[in-house]
Amino acid sequence: MQQPPIIQAHDLYYEIINHDNQLRILQGLNLSIATGEQVAIIGSSGSGKSTLLSLLAGLDRPTSGSVQINGNLFSGLDEDGRATIRAKTMGFVFQSFQLLPSLTALENVMLPLQLKSHPQAKALSLEALDKVGLSQRLQHYPKQLSGGEQQRVALARAFATEPEILFADEPTGNLDNATGQMIIELLFKMNKEAGTTLVLVTHDIQLANRCQRQLHLQNGRLEELASA
């Protein structure tokens, strides 16, 4: 039996009003992502990649259209309803790591688990940090870690909650080539082990080619590229 798509977007529109000018960022976009799929969304700067990601993750609401997660309407829920789904199913990796400077590496990883009142918050976090090779730096604060180490903490944080979907927004954008490469290897390795659905936003074609599908966002619509 064919698995239902884990993410389904239908006729998505997103408009913003800027100085009386209506700016249409997404124009009737459709998208379907199957469970366990790795999808890269590429596009030029300002094409709306991050906007699309935020709509898929429920961080914002579309002007019109709908997003379904696991077959359930997601975009129609209120802010807190979407937050509950996020807590259950989603993990995030950001370009600028988004670690809280006042928390240690361990506390940063524990944060999403604590929000879910997960009974094993600490154990899972320790395990995740061990997987990214940072078990020696548990009590370090972000400013005491290098960029690569900070992104590894972010990866540990993303996978510790065992999410169904991982959204990664330019995860190597703030790193040098070598470090970026190392993070990508780690991300794909962990993704493979966990069988997580990956939605990766990038403008790096090479990185996009590591995914099973590549979608090009242009003029507010997605265009499927031939797989590399």
Binding site: E79, D80, A83, I85, R86, L100, S102, P119, T161, D169
Partner: protein, 835 residues
Amino acid sequence: MMLTLKLAWTQTLSLWRAGSLRVLAFALVLAVAAITAVSFFTQRVASALNQQGGLLLGGDIAVMADHPIRPAFIKRAQSQGMAHVSTYEFASMVIHGEISQLVEIKAVELGFPLRGDLTIGAKIDDVGQTVKAAPQPGEAWLEPRLANLLGVKVGDEVEVGERKLRIGAILLREPSRGGDMFSLAPRLLMNTADLPATKLIQYGSRVKYQLLLAADPQQVNDYFLKTKAELGRGERIEDVRNARPEIKSALDKARQFLGLSAMVSVILAMVAMLLSSLPYIKQSLDTFALMRCFGARQSTVLQVLALQTLLIAFFSAVAGSALGYLAQLGLAKLASSLFVETLPTLSVTPIWVGFAASMMMMVAVVIPHAWQMRNLTAINILRRETLAQPISTQAKFLPAAIVMVAMIFWQAHDTKIAVYTMLAVGALCVVISGFAYGLVGLVQRLFSLTPQNKTLSSVSLGIQGLKRRAGLSTVQMIGFSMGLMVLMLLALIRGDLIQSWQASLPSDAPNRFVINIQPAQIAGITQFFVQQKIKDTAIFPMVRARLISKNGKLINAAQWQDERAKRLAEREFNLSWAATMQSDNRLLAGRWWTPQEHGKPHLSLEQGLAETLGVQLGDKLVFDIAGNLTTLTVTSLRKVEWDTMRANFFAVTPPGLLEPYAANFISSFYLPVGADAPLNQLVKQYPNLTVIDVAALMQQVRGIMQKMSSAIAYVFSFSLIAGVAVLYAALVATREERIAEATLMRVFGASRRQVSIAYVAEFACIGLIASLTATIAANFLAYYISANILNIPFQLNITLALSTMLIAATVIPLAAWLGLRGFLNIPPRQLLNSI
């Protein structure tokens, strides 16, 4: 220059609009308001004393003595052709019908007042007219309070001693009278011509004799210098410069105390300024970086910053002074009549003080950043490379610390007090932070057992926030707990302690003292006691004496540092005699005399007095008793329970020694409520008796304490507002961090409720810990005061403690939540956009 000014002006306006300046300015306004309010108030009282020196004195100079003024002094005034009048002030009873009342009588000669005037009216609520006159013989002028107490009006008669006087007018204002604090009984003004007929001034009466003089300044100066050189014991001379020294010294103490109280607000406000200066500087830096990019010179940028600083300081000083002016109206209402009856209009000095303080504080906050900026290139600023020339935290706060210390010294007017104040504030900070840290640790441990409940886990996250922002949290806790502690302590002292002191007295503790009893009246008074079935009475003799020497060494008041010792050495002692020791006395050293030792020159001293004067067992003290020198040997030291309210004496001799000297007698007894009528009869029979109603006196004292503590609480309420300013400044300073935190939490699936709970929990903890610290500290201090100063059992006020904690733990998180709730509505997507 105009361009720079314009730039500074627009920059300041845009910073105001952006909000980063508001908390900074608010804190500055608050500090200026606290300083100027206290300064305005004390300045008004001080200028009342300075401008009205002559009026307060009633003349240009006054010779005062506790015995009749020497004729030589009067002759000198006469020979120099100076205007002069004599006055006599003493406490006595006044009777009207069945009512008797203790009053402060002032008998004056015609010609009084030499300087200033009096306001008299025909009725209590009259506007009155100013007169430069004194009551005619046969006439008395009564203060409205006295007229009310006696239920009399103009034209009625009152009995003053053995003389009846007709009420000629109601005395509405008498400049020479101090404020509430210095007048426990109401005033009756009469003519000296009636004095002998009253027979009130007898042997042993305590009378303040005064010779007022007025003339041209040269003559006054001449008289002052000559007389000053000849002053003897118990005599002093005052001129307008030091008129009413007791008011001046009370005012000095009040100025010091209120000033230092205001300093607590200033310190907190400066902390708030330092916190809120960070976002302000950050925003300014952005503009300055762009200015540099567009070609502005370093000096231009610094000039703009300097002008901007001055503009902010200027406008904050204007607003602060205006607020301070309004606030002093309240302060004057609460406390003015303690010092002088009417306050003159304001002087502008406090405004200058406010402006100077505003400038100093603002410069102190900005200067470290300006210093840091002086070598930065445009690209440094754009890249936020301020760390290229890092400035240590100590250096950042050093100028502010210097300004705070300077202000404390300035307000204290005394190095020792300034140092003590700083030590006390420092110690309090250390105790509070230690306590707060300990409690945070404890609360954290309780919540660290990862709760299995979303609400509890949010609470736990909130409490962890205390640790994440440990420094800021502690500063906020210190701010709140200091304000709360002082307010609680005042509430405890003014309410509970006084009440429990009164409650601790036995219900039949003496509540009336009768003084000035003459030997011939003893039989009649004893009979009165028997008739009225008043038990537990005793009549004690008193002989006035002066201490001349100790172990052959002449006593000189100047030899003591201690003010109390000086006073004791200077004033007359009341020596008493007794065969047995009073039941409320306890022998500490030596032994009480045997019947065989009656008539021997022995002396039993009260322990505290002996300590103050440095007298030990076996010391030989020489007293001057009515011109005779008598040597007494200290044979015992006693502890006296003054709290029993019975008549007691510092110095007691055996019977058979002092009897030859003229004595007057004192008695204390318990008079049941409503049994005044027979006592009034007694006073009618013996008009020279002075009856002191302890309960009424206590009422008066409580009224004064109420006023003083209201004034202090009023000044400290500024520090609570400053605590709120610190809270907001801390919120502003951590705004970005909190936005990131809240948004990230929501990206990870936290509901708005969870984020709100976390914040409310964090601030509820701040409120709870601050109020708990304040409660413990206030109760500890109240306990110390009750155990060591008032000697009464201490009772914990649970209601006050709980309600304070409840209010603090509700209001503080509510205020914080109001400040933070804006974040909760920012869509989490903005976080992604900011990447």
